[in-house]
């Protein structure tokens, strides 16, 4: 059942991914095309999710919008996560380094996500690259913290001592014993971070810091739609469906992955 769940999740994410990649082929319109007179129309055969306040086809914008979020979920999050894991693991290797890194992370973590987003955007200017930077910056300390606390826990377990007695190098022990035994929470966190990245992108556009118009993204489309709920509710439904599908997919994959990495089952 659990592996099947992973397959379903992968399928869902895969479909969204493919839809994003194939957006230029699938979308009936270019995302910026302003169709004359089509102001906030409801769903119709020509516009499945209706049109937005600037007469653009919502479906086309959602399809193209997926690309932005995919880039963030599949590039920014992994980049931030890997960097964070590297930082977190490295910091456990050395006492002084650990103190320095932890305090630096404290400083970073102490700024709420969105505040970081607001500040970074104000410095870099709004746009995709800024969102990318924000997501990376937000993820690094989270992963670093998480991996560190896991590493500290696992490091005390006896099989790590066993590897030390064998004469394995610290790096090897970290790589082969400690980190793999810390992956559980990291997997859960990765799935969450991927979801949260979509959310963060949306929140930034809610605060007017999102992608640079007229480029579409799921978050900014969703956010835009909220102002026109009574004119065209389908406008909100489009991006919501895709976001929900993505998040569900991530979650199913994570559930399957953590089940696969779990070392025992409850027997009672």
């Amino acid at each position: 059942m659990i592996p099947r769940r992973g397959l379903v999740g992968a399928l869902v994410v895969g479909v969204v991914f493919a839809a994003g990649l194939a957006a230029p082929l699938l979308a009936p319109f270019a995302p910026e095309t302003q169709v004359e007179g089509a102001n906030l129309l409801g769903p119709s055969a020509a516009h499945w999710f209706g049109t937005d306040e600037l007469n653009r086809d919502v479906l086309s914008r959602v399809l193209h919008g997926i690309r932005v979020d995919l880039l963030i979920s599949f590039a920014a999050v992994p980049l931030g996560a890997l960097t964070g894991i590297a930082v977190g693991v490295a910091s456990t290797a050395h006492r002084v380094l650990d103190v320095v890194v932890q305090r630096a992370l404290d400083v970073l973590l102490a700024f709420p996500n969105l505040i970081l987003a607001i500040a970074l955007t104000a410095v870099l200017g709004p746009g995709l690259s800024t969102i990318f930077a924000v997501v990376v910056a937000v993820e690094i300390p989270v992963f670093a913290r998480l991996v560190r606390s896991e590493v500290l826990r696992v490091r005390e377990l006896e099989f790590v001592t066993a590897a030390e007695v064998i004469g394995a190098r610290r790096g090897r022990i970290l790589r082969t014993h400690v980190v793999p035994n810390s992956v559980g929470p990291l997997i859960v966190q990765t799935a969450l971070s991927m979801s949260i990245a979509v959310f963060l992108e949306g929140a930034m556009s809610f605060l007017g810091l999102g992608v640079r118009p007229p480029e579409p993204s799921l978050g900014s489309t969703l956010n835009g739609s909220l102002n026109y709920l009574d004119a065209n509710p389908a406008y909100a439904v489009g991006p919501l469906l895709v976001i929900a599908a993505l998040v569900l997919g991530f979650q199913l994959i994570a559930q399957a992955a953590s089940a696969a990495t779990r070392t025992g089952e409850r027997t009672w």
Binding site: V107, F111, E156, G202, L207, R262
Partner: protein, 319 residues
Amino acid sequence: MSGYLLRRVPSALLVLLLASVLVFLVIRLIPGDPAAVLAGSDATPEAVAAIRRELGLDQPLHLQYLHWLGGLLAGDLGSSYLIGGEIGDLLADGAANTVVLATTALVLAVLCAAVLGPLWAVTRSRWVDRALTGFTTAAVALPPYVTGVLLVLVFGVAFRLLPAGGVPPDGLADRLGITAQYLVLPASCLALPVAAVLTRFFSEALRGELARDYATTAAAAGIPRCRIVFRHALRNAVPAAVTVLGLQIGNLLGGAVLVEAVFSWPGLGMLVEQGIDRRDYPVVQVLLVLSVAVYVVIQLVTDVVHAYLDPRIRLGGTS
């Protein structure tokens, strides 16, 4: 324990100091000029320059910083460029509102995780599992500004069951019943994503604990399932959840920016956002340093909780 705390304090102070420098610099790195905001869009450049002089913005950065820090240390938070009042007064109101909102949300989230996490970890029912997967998906997929808008539309506008936003007109301390009604929507909205995240981590950690031999031993002794989950395994799973909760506090404060906006809840989130928006340096500086301080304290608490819960840390040594 107290020795441990004492050792942590200097580094916490260091973090605060570093953060204050960072806060100060970052805010000034942001392009935009408070004087220009003050002067308004139809002002002349000369007027702007005059305002800069008046606010002391024409001085070198390090002097500005030292001046501010000196003030802070002397207990003077400074005054807002825009609002004109003492920041201390300005914060008092907002802080009360945010603390109430965030704490309520935190309690809701923790309660939710405390109930759903174990349920999820223990259940072998497909339907419970699916329902929880669905719930956490929805809670993470729907950002607070969407849930907020929807909640307001349903409860505030369509059915008029609860206030659509704002704080109780006679203050939070007026009538608990009334305050609760104002709090329900924003607090749940803020709590939802945190609750989902916590539930996920907590159930995952619990599941791992329940598979361990000591839990089997307890089960073999005939200890009721509930008790194994809540008394025996919980304590082992809580540290991981506490780490995540510590990380989530930041999200909670960030989420407050959105939730406060959607529910017109006049708290610090709103103050920060507007402060940045209008380049009200003193306000933003103080607020950010404050949030760093809150965070540092929470980290301290997290560490203490870890140590308290795990005798191996508390007493040192492994067998």
